[in-house]
Structure formats: C-alpha cells, structure tokens
C-alpha cells in the first residue's frame, strides 16, 4: 500500500494552490493511493539495474542559434489573459512572497 495520507493530500493541494474540502481530501486520499499503487506495479516489471528513462530516443545536443526571432505584440500576448492592466498580466496578489 502507498503512504498517501490526508495530510499529504492537503500539502499537495497547497503546493498547487487548490482549496480542498475535508470531503474532497478523503476522496482524493483513496483515489491517489490507488493510482500510486497501480503505477508501482511497473516496478515489478523492471530490474533494479535499469536506469530510469527520461528520453526514449537516443538523441542529444539539439540547439538553436542565438538569433532573434519575432515576438508577439503586447496586445497579442495579453489577448488570452483573464485580466490585464498597463500592458501587463493582472493576477491576484499572493501573500507569501515579496
């Protein structure tokens, strides 16, 4: 069994800036446990000496030259923003950083 606890779920929700109710915490604790346990079965299929794979295709050193390409206009950049002011994206004030 995985070690997904209600406190861990609350912690993860906090990192993701999501408000969760006690009911939701309970539901997600069991659901996340199930997911993690299911994924863990993959471990049974691979031996310990096989390194974790991040890139299945053996390829390296794909670079871009340092050449300027056109950017979006300010209006284009802001066109999908829920809110903007003074040419900038407007977001809720977040209290824990300066």
């Amino acid at each position: 069994m995985s070690e997904i606890t209600p406190d861990l779920v609350r912690h993860l929700a906090g990192l993701a800036r999501i408000l969760v109710t006690d009911e939701e915490v309970e539901k997600m604790t069991s659901q996340l446990s199930l997911i993690v346990d299911s994924v863990a079965t993959v471990n049974k299929a691979v031996a310990g000496d096989i390194p974790a794979t991040s890139h299945p295709i053996p390829m390296a050193n794909v670079f871009r030259e340092d050449v300027i390409e056109p950017s979006l206009s300010q209006a284009e950049a802001l066109s999908g923003a829920p809110d903007s002011a003074d040419g900038r994206f407007r977001v809720h004030a977040i209290l824990d950083e300066e």
Binding site: H11, L15, A16, R17, S54, H55, I57, M59, A60, N61, V62, F63, R64, E65, D66, V67, I68, E69, P70, S71, L72, S73, Q74, A77, L78, G80, A85, D86, G87, R88, F89, R90, V91, H92, A93, I94, L95, D96, E97, E98
Partner: protein, 500 residues
Amino acid sequence: MAKDELMNYEQALAQFEVVIGLEVHVELNTKTKMFCGCKNEFGNEPNTNVCPICIGLPGSLPAVNKRAVESSISIGLALGCQIAPTGRFARKNYFYPDLAKNFQTSQYDEPIAFEGALEVEVPSGNKFNVLIERAHMEEDAGKLTHVGGATGRIQGAEYSLVDYNRAGVPLVEIVTKPVFGAGAEAPELAAAYVRSIRDIVRALNVSDARMERGNVRCDANVSLRPHGSEKLGTRTETKNVNSLRSIERAVRYEIQRQAAILAKGGSIIQETRHWHEDRGITSSGRPKSDADDYRYFPEPDLVPVQPSIEWIESLRAALPENPAERRRRLAADWGFSELEFRDVVNAGLLDQIEETVAAGAKPQSARKWWGGELARVANAEDKDVTELSITPAQVAELASLVEGGKINDRLAREVLTYVLAGEGSPAEVVAARGLEVVSDDGALIAAIDAALASQPDVLDAIREGRMQAAGAVIGAVMKAMKGSADAARVRELLIEKANA
C-alpha cells in the same frame, strides 16, 4: 514588523563559528532567451519580448540556445569546474505567477559544471579558497509589480502585474559549498566572492554583470554553530541582496540576529529572509520549501546536452586571463600603492589604464586621468567611464603632451573637454585651438613686468629668499594669460630678474 534582537558582533564571533554559503545568479548577455528567439533585452515595454514558449502557451516547444550553453561552460571552466559529459534539464514545479508555465526549466541532479574552486581576496589581504559545488543553467522569471496597499508592500497589495520580458532569460546559478573559517571576515568574504564572480563573467563577456540591473544577484546562506561543533547549524537564506555593500551588511546582520537567538537557547527557523536596504535589516519570508516540494523531473521536451571534449577544449582555449592573476600582474607592473590600486579596481579602470599604459603613458599619469578628471566627467553625466568618447590612446597622447611641457594640467583639462566633444585627438585640439602653454619669454616677461608694476616689493622679497612671494606674481601672470602660461618658466624668469 518586530524588531530583531542583535548580539554585539565581536561577542557573536567569540561564541559562534560562522558558516556561509552563496548562490549567485548570473544573467547571460545572449541576444535571445534560453529556450526561444525572443530578445534578451532590459528596459523594453512590458510583454513585448514574449512568445508562446516563454509565456507557456499550450503546445509550444522550447529549444536550447547554443550560445547560452557555451557561456555556461565557459563560466564553469573559469571557476575550475569539471564539465558534465552529459546533462539534462529538469522541471522545477511551483505555482507562482512569475512564470506562466507553472514550472521553471532548470537543472537538478545533472548540472553542466561541478566541483570547482575560486580564490577570493578580502580587503585585509587575506585569501580564501571558496569551493564551488555546481553551476547550472536555468531560466529567469518574469517581473511582478505589486499594486495597492498603503505601503507598497506585498502584505497590503490588492493585485499584482506581471511582465514576462525577463521570463526565459538565460541564467547560470553558481552554488558554493559551505565556507568555513572566515570568522569576522565572513561578510567581507561574501561580498568579495560576488565581486570576483562579477569580474569573471565580465572578463568572459558572457554577462553585462550590472548588479543594479539584477544581472548578478546573490542569495546569502548564513548559519552559526558553537566553536568546535561538527554539526552545521540551521541556515537562513537571505534574498534580494543586490549590491556588494548590502551583501556584506546582510551577512553581518544575520550573524548578529542568529547569535542573539541561539545564545538565549532558541532555535533558528530554516527560512528565506528578505534584505531591506533602506532599514538595514532582514525580515522573515516564506519557510523554505523542501526540494521534494518542487517535484523535479527530467524535462521531456528537451534532449540531453552532451558537450564534446573538442567543444569544451576550444572554449577553454578562449578563456581570458584569470582576473585575480591579472590583478597581481598589473599591481606588480604599475607600482601603485595598495590604496591606489584598490581604488582603480573598485572603479573598474583596469582595462582603461592597461591600454593607456600600452599606448605609452606612465602608469601614474594613466591612473591620474582615468581616476580623476574622466571619472568626474563620467559621474557628472551618469555614465560609465568606458562610455566616454575618448580612447586610451588619446589619454596617452594627452599625458605625453603634459609631460613634454606642451600643455599644463589646466589646459589639459580644457583639451579633454574638446576631445570628449568630438573635436579630435588631444594634439589636434591643441593645434586647432592654440592651447599650447606660452613659454615664449618675450610674452612672459611683458606679463611679469605688468604684474610687478602693482607689486614692486616682490623682487626684494625673492632676493631675501622669501620665495612664497613669487606666487602672487605667477598667479597674476597666469590670470593675465588665461592660464596658458608655463608656470615653471615664469618662476625662472622672475628669479633671474630678481638676481639680475
């Protein structure tokens, strides 16, 4: 904000050993961003150097800037690091609007450079070998402006505005190992280390390295432990220290603050602290997240970077002289006093003076012009001295005109004004404007006679050996000739006249 209790600095050092660790972020001066072709430029209209990649729109794919990788390798090599034969980028996940992607593309367990060392000299002349743990590539975040609230501080802010022009600008983060043994000089060492990094990246020409623009930023970790203790104390990480002076002050403040807490049996909270330059204090920020909370994982959209030996060695061959070695060489060559040399280094005049000396000037004259009149003009015009429109060769020419007696210091300053205004080289200005000193005896004698007419006693005074009396006549002659008289010749002529 509650006022922190501070322990007297000497007392704190008597009770505790100081351990520091420094994280320096260097913004690279590539033309474009780390993962997209948007301009890497300071001071543009907000959100004009942005594209789907750097504002994290769905479906966009990053591509690594080759020049940024080269700059990162050069920094690693200059710090004596090993370069990783293979390295990956990683996603550092966090939800904060300074990056729109909800993660920062960084490097985690495979930094491009690791295990280096840097010799750092503090003002007392003591030298410390600072061990470098790693240097890794990452991207900068956007700039937030907090709006509303009475004090302009985040606590009272109603909302924030985000400009993503800086998001995706290439950064190299250089992390030291814990630094022991600096004792009372820990604050100076922290500042001197950051200065050394700044000098190196400037010499490499990989960053504009202007601290006031945030091109070089420092986070200072400080912890204390009782003398003789093996275990490291809990550290705090002070952010927002963006000048050499504030680094020194912030480290000193943390030493005093932590000592006061520990001496009372309290414990230090591991946290981020903010430096307030105006009040000279640090204040508590967020509790430091565990690395686990960032849920690092390999960036699936970028393939590994595997620099070849040939690539690394060609970059190594192109490294400039190590700044510390260069300073030692120049200090020995120029023969300045320690104080003079330090002033020159602090004013960033090494290149100018070296080139001026190479063009034939004596080191002391080169120092005098760059560190004196030219520094004054630059300061008055709010420019860097290197931005003035005068070349080291022209300064050398000016110095040689003065040494040859063609012009005096006062005229030289006037000549400088015209050179800076674009009227040509010093010799050309002197010729065009007729600014040579008058050493034609006829003209000088006429002026001396005129001056003596109103001060007839001077000759007697000189005959009696009271040479200071000559000053009044020399002054009058200079005034009459609008400063272009050769003062030494006027003096000689005056003495000849007195003894005739």
